[in-house]
């Protein structure tokens, strides 16, 4: 068993990215194929987003014993279209205190990265049309997976600037929370991706998928020992600010979060970007850990090399879209300190430890056993440091804590609070 696993680790193909379409340089045929690919991808992405919004509302109403949207079109399928059309006809408000330029810029910064991430996701195999061979993927740059992280980094600006430019309390708080949350989980996210890159030996998404093509036992989910997938899934849910990490738009506390002041289609664009991100991130999870368009057993259906990968890809992605909805229905929202603790004190050390373990096992099988005590010692140190830190935050914290009333105790005011709440 371990020997077989060892072999799967050793047989990763060594290749960079690159769509074979561009091998002979640019000509009109190539540009035409690129244009068609981009148009199809964009169209599919928009329709998928509309369906995803419908799917989420329908599934969540099923889970809550409601009917959900059922008027617009068959089974309410056209509900999103109706909502979008309605939003276009709504009054577009620019609040008094808003910074108009940034306020108008923010939706662009949200939508464009959301659209772009999908570009590097491999959707299927390769197709040959006449003299042109091309991959079923909008683009296959050599730094593929870094592009995903870069775009999700830029999307933070959309949220941050939207909240800041609104000139209002709740959006500001929502956006500050969102930025802190997203950057906190980016570290854990990045390190689980590094673990994948270790065995794939390439940053190209196509190469990452190709390294997992020999059956489901080669999928990174199993090869890397499940944990990177779990870490990645938690981190990506927090990156998407989806439940249970949706503190940025915690309705009970912050009205709508960063988009409270947005109305009309400007709000609609944020909404669109959010759901588009849910789909593309499901696709990214599938790419990194579930073999992308590869079937569970290679060559199970002979002769179906063109359409079956697409079917596998769609099935897996829909499964993850469902899981996100399921999270929303099943899990209560975290408190902000719980969120930060999970991100910094648990996920980051765990992903780092697992990364080092995988690297050791890749070098020499028994290095893993050598690493294990090191990891345990580090864990003990971390536990001790955390204990010290949470004790210190009460005594001489870097940031003083504000007084809080407990029954039977005198009400604490900033003046007589032990650390001076107004310092």
């Amino acid at each position: 068993m371990i020997g077989a696993l060892w072999n799967t680790l050793q047989t990763a193909p060594d290749q960079g990215g690159g769509d074979p379409l561009f091998v002979f340089g640019l000509n009109w045929g190539v540009v035409l194929i690129v244009a068609v690919k981009v148009l199809v991808a964009f169209g599919v992405l928009l329709v998928a987003t509309a369906l995803m919004i419908w799917f989420e509302r329908k599934v969540i109403s099923d889970m809550q014993s409601r009917v959900g949207p059922n008027r617009a079109g068959p089974w309410g399928l056209l509900q999103t279209l109706a909502d979008g059309t309605k939003l276009i006809f709504k009054e577009d408000l620019l609040p008094d205190r808003a910074d108009i330029f940034v306020f108008k810029l923010a939706p662009y910064l949200s939508v464009i990265p959301a659209v772009l991430i999908f570009a590097v996701v491999p959707v299927g195999g390769t197709i040959t049309l006449g003299t042109h061979t091309f991959e079923l993927q909008v683009s296959d740059p050599p730094m593929g997976i870094l592009f995903v992280l870069a775009m999700s980094g830029i999307a933070v600006y959309g949220v941050m600037l939207a909240g800041w430019s609104s000139g209002s309390k709740y959006p500001l708080l929502g956006s500050v929370r969102a930025s802190a949350q997203v950057i906190s989980y980016e570290a854990a996210l990045g390190m689980s991706v590094v673990t994948v890159v270790l065995v794939s030996r390439s940053l190209s998404t196509r190469a990452i998928v190709a390294a997992q093509s020999n059956g489901f036992w080669h999928w990174n989910l199993i090869r890397l020992g499940f944990f990177p997938f779990i870490f990645f899934m938690i981190a990506i849910t927090a990156e998407l600010t989806r439940p249970p990490f949706d503190l940025t738009e915690a309705e009970q506390e912050l009205v709508g979060g960063f988009h409270t002041e947005y109305s009309s289609i400007r709000f609609g664009l944020f909404f669109l970007a959010e759901f588009m991100n849910t789909i593309t991130m499901s696709a990214v999870v599938v790419t990194l850990f579930f073999g992308g368009p590869n079937g569970p057993i290679p060559h199970a259906i002979p002769g179906a090399t063109i359409y079956m990968p697409i079917v596998y890809f769609i099935l897996k992605t829909v499964a993850f879209c469902f899981i996100y909805v399921w999270f929303r229905a099943a899990l209560p929202r975290l408190r902000y300190d719980q969120l930060m603790d999970l991100g910094w004190k648990r996920l980051i050390p765990l992903t780092l430890a697992w990364l080092l373990m995988v690297a050791s096992v890749l070098t020499w099988r028994w290095w893993g056993l050598v690493m294990l005590p090191v990891v345990v010692v580090s864990a003990v140190l971390l536990f001790r440091a955390n204990h010290l830190g949470s004790g210190r935050s009460e005594e001489d914290a870097i940031i003083p804590v504000v007084g809080r009333r407990v029954t039977g105790a005198p009400r604490l005011t900033p003046v007589d609070a032990p650390h001076g709440g107004d310092a």
Partner: protein
């Protein structure tokens, strides 16, 4: 650079879609002059009587500064991961040393309470810890009596 042509086109398409939505909304949406109440910041019906806050807890700045350390660590890890199979043991030892250095600073941060958020367990020595019971009793204590003015 040809590989980036589709990304550029997709980005332009996304930009075009956003512009199209905003322009069509500008044409189709009603253009009345909104009232002052509509234009004021939304605070659940309360008229805001002070300037919007431009300050927020310093912890958020702290987190973003700490984040930079980890982000740089990860940026260094990507090229290492790509060539790891070539540098094997040397690469492993290098990265263990590197991770140890980052981990020590991480321990320092945590032991200083830089990453400790949220409600402290006790505010003064002798006060009970925060539990479900304490929260319930606190809330019921804060609620005014029926006869009392709110």
């Amino acid at each position: 650079m040809d590989q980036y042509l589709p990304i550029l086109l997709l980005g332009l398409l996304g930009l075009g879609f956003t512009v199209f939505s905003l322009v069509s909304s500008a044409i189709l949406a009603p253009r009345k002059k909104p009232s002052a109440a509509k234009l004021s910041p939304y605070e659940c019906g309360i008229v805001p009587n002070r300037e919007p806050p431009q300050r927020f807890p310093v912890r958020f700045y702290l987190v973003s500064m700490i984040f930079i350390i980890f982000d740089i660590e990860i940026v260094f890890l990507y090229p290492w991961a790509v060539v790891f199979h070539q540098i094997a043991t040397f690469g492993l030892i290098e990265v263990i040393v590197f991770a140890a250095v980052v981990f020590v600073s991480f321990l320092y941060l945590i032991s200083n309470g830089a990453l400790t958020w949220g409600p402290p367990k006790t505010l003064q020595s002798g006060l009970p810890a925060r539990t479900s019971d304490s929260t319930i009793s606190r809330i019921s204590a804060a609620r005014p009596e029926p006869g009392e003015a709110a």
